[in-house]
C-alpha cells in the first residue's frame, strides 16, 4: 500500500473513533438520565404539584413555568435579535461601529450564565424592583440568548441571495420594503429554527434564573386568564421556579424523602422536552421553507 493511502486510512480511523467516542459519551449520558428518570415519570408526576415534605409530589407548576418563560423570553428576545440582525446584515457598513457591535455580541456570548443571573438580580430584581419574577427571568434569559439568536437571524438573512434584493430594488422598491417583503420571508425558516433552538436552551437554563425568576412558586390559579391579577398563572410579575431550577433545588436542599426520584424524573422530562425542541427546530424550518417556496 502506498504511504499516502496508509496515512489517509489512519486519519480516517482516528477521526471516526474520536467521533464515536463523542457520540458514546453524549448518548451514554442521555441514556443514563432517561433510564434512571423515566421510571419515575407518570401522569400524576406530570400533572401534580410539588410537595414540601411528603413524597409523591409532581412538577406541573415547574413545567408550566418553564414553557411560559420560553414564550416570554422569545417574545422579548426574537424582536431584539431580529432588529440587530437586520441592521448587521442589511444596513451596517464596514467600520468601527459595526466591529464594536460584533465584539460586544461575541463577549456577551461567552459570559457565564451565573454572571448574567447575578446581573439580572442586581439590575432587574433590586434596582428596577421587579422582585423575583418571570419578567426578570425573561430579561436575564434574553441577555443570555441574544448573541446566538442574533447570529442565527443574521446567518438566515445572509443566506438570501443578493440578487433577490437587487431585483426588488430594480423594480423600485425602497430598501426597507425589500427587507420586509423579500428578505425576511425568505429568511423565516432559518429564523424560526434559531428561535426554537433558543427555546431549548431557555428550557434547560438554571443558573441565570436562580436569582431572577426565583426558586419558589406561589399557588397560582390556572383558571384566571387575567395577566394582571396577582394569582393568575399568566402574571409575569410572579416568582416562578422552572423545571431546571427545581432539579437544582431538589438536589441541593430537597426535604422530600423521594428527592432523588423527583430530580431524576424531572431531568428525564427536561431532556425529552429539549429533544423535542431540537427536532421541531429542524422539522419546522424545513416545512416552512417548503411552504414558502411553493
Amino acid at each position: 500500500m502506498k504511504k499516502i493511502e496508509l496515512q489517509n486510512r489512519l486519519a480516517t480511523i482516528l477521526i471516526l473513533s474520536l467521533a464515536a467516542l463523542a457520540a458514546l459519551i453524549a448518548g451514554g449520558l442521555v441514556g443514563y438520565l432517561l433510564a434512571s428518570g423515566l421510571p419515575h415519570v407518570s401522569w400524576q408526576f406530570l400533572t401534580g404539584s410539588t410537595k414540601s415534605f411528603a413524597s409523591g409530589g409532581g412538577i406541573f407548576d415547574q413545567l408550566f413555568n418553564s414553557f411560559y418563560l420560553v414564550v416570554l423570553t422569545l417574545l422579548v428576545a426574537v424582536p431584539l435579535a431580529l432588529l440587530a440582525a437586520i441592521y448587521l446584515s442589511e444596513y451596517a457598513k464596514q467600520g468601527p461601529v459595526t466591529t464594536g457591535l460584533r465584539l460586544a455580541i461575541e463577549v456577551l456570548s461567552s459570559l457565564p450564565s451565573i454572571v448574567i443571573g447575578l446581573f439580572g438580580y442586581l439590575i432587574f430584581v433590586l434596582q428596577w424592583r421587579l422582585d423575583f419574577s418571570l419578567l426578570a427571568g425573561a430579561m436575564a434569559l434574553t441577555i443570555l440568548n441574544l448573541p446566538l439568536l442574533t447570529r442565527a437571524c443574521e446567518d438566515a438573512l445572509r443566506q438570501v441571495p443578493q440578487l433577490q434584493r437587487q431585483a426588488g430594488l430594480g423594480l423600485g422598491m425602497p430598501k426597507w420594503r425589500v427587507t420586509t417583503k423579500l428578505v425576511l420571508p425568505a429568511a423565516l425558516p432559518g429564523i424560526i429554527t434559531g428561535a426554537v433552538l433558543s427555546a431549548g436552551r431557555i428550557f434547560g437554563e438554571a443558573a441565570a434564573l436562580i436569582y431572577t425568576a426565583g426558586q419558589s412558586t406561589i399557588a397560582v390559579d390556572y383558571a384566571n386568564w387575567n395577566p394582571f391579577a396577582p394569582t393568575s398563572f399568566l402574571n409575569p410579575l410572579r416568582p416562578a421556579e422552572t423545571l431546571a431550577v427545581h432539579i437544582w433545588k431538589v438536589n441541593t436542599e430537597g426535604l422530600v424523602p423521594d428527592a432523588a426520584a423527583v430530580s431524576s424524573g424531572a431531568a428525564a422530562v427536561l431532556i425529552i422536552t429539549i429533544l423535542i425542541f431540537n427536532l421541531a427546530a429542524r422539522g419546522l424550518g424545513k416545512l416552512l421553507a417548503r411552504w414558502l417556496s411553493r
Partner: protein, 251 residues
Amino acid sequence: MTQSPAITVNQVAVAYDSKPVVSDVSLAFPAKQITALIGASGSGKSTLLRCLNRMNDGVATVSGEITFHGVNINAPQVNVYRVRQQIGMVFQQPTPFPLSIYENVIYGLRLRGVKDRSLLDQRVEESLKQAALWEEVKDLLKASAQALSGGQQQRLCIARTLATRPEIILLDEPTSALDPLSTNQIEATLSQLKKDYTIIIVTHNMQQASRISDWTAYFEQGKLVEFNQTAQLFINPKEERTANYLSGKFG
C-alpha cells in the same frame, strides 16, 4: 442618427470607495433601439449600466450628468424609485420571487398600489405576450414561478420589468446563464421589444451583440473607446483597440 436619444450620459465617472472604475464616459443612447455594451471583464460595463437607474446608490460614487427627459437623474434630490420604475433592469441570473407567475409579473404594480383586477389581468397577459412567454404559461399563471426553466424564468423577469411600463430596459448579460435555445428566445424577444422600448444590454457574446444590437459601445478599463452603429463598429472599427479586441474575440 435622426431620432433624439432616450437617455444621455455626460462625463460620467464612477468610483468604488476611492477606486475609480469608470471615467469620463459621454454617450447618447438612441431611443427604441438596442445598444450593446461590450468590453473585457472588469471594463466597467455593469457599473455604467447600473448608473442608468441609480442602482449604484450606496455602493459607488457616481459623478457627471445622466439626462432622461431633460432631467438629470443623477442629482441627489431625484426620486430614485420613480426612476427605477421608468428604467427597469434585468439581471444576469433569473430572479423570480417565490410567488406565482401571476404575482411575479404584477409585483411592481402591486408595489404602486394598483388593485384593479381587470387592469392587473390585462397587464399580466400583455407583459407575458411581449416577453414571448404567454403561450407557455397561460394555463399555469397560479403556479410557482420557481418551477419554470431558467430561460422561462428570465423571460418572466423581463415581463415583470415590462409590467410597470418602463421606457428603458437595462439588461446585464441576461443570457449568460442560459442554454442556446433559451438564449435565442430571449434574443427574439428583445428584437420584438425594441418597437416600444429602448434597450441597453451588456453582453460578452460578440455574436449576440452583432445579431441583435443596432448600436455598440466598446469599453476598455472604464473608458468608452468607440461608439457606433453595430455594423460599422464590427466591420470597420475606427479605433485600433476596438479592432484588436474584436479580432481577439472572433479569433
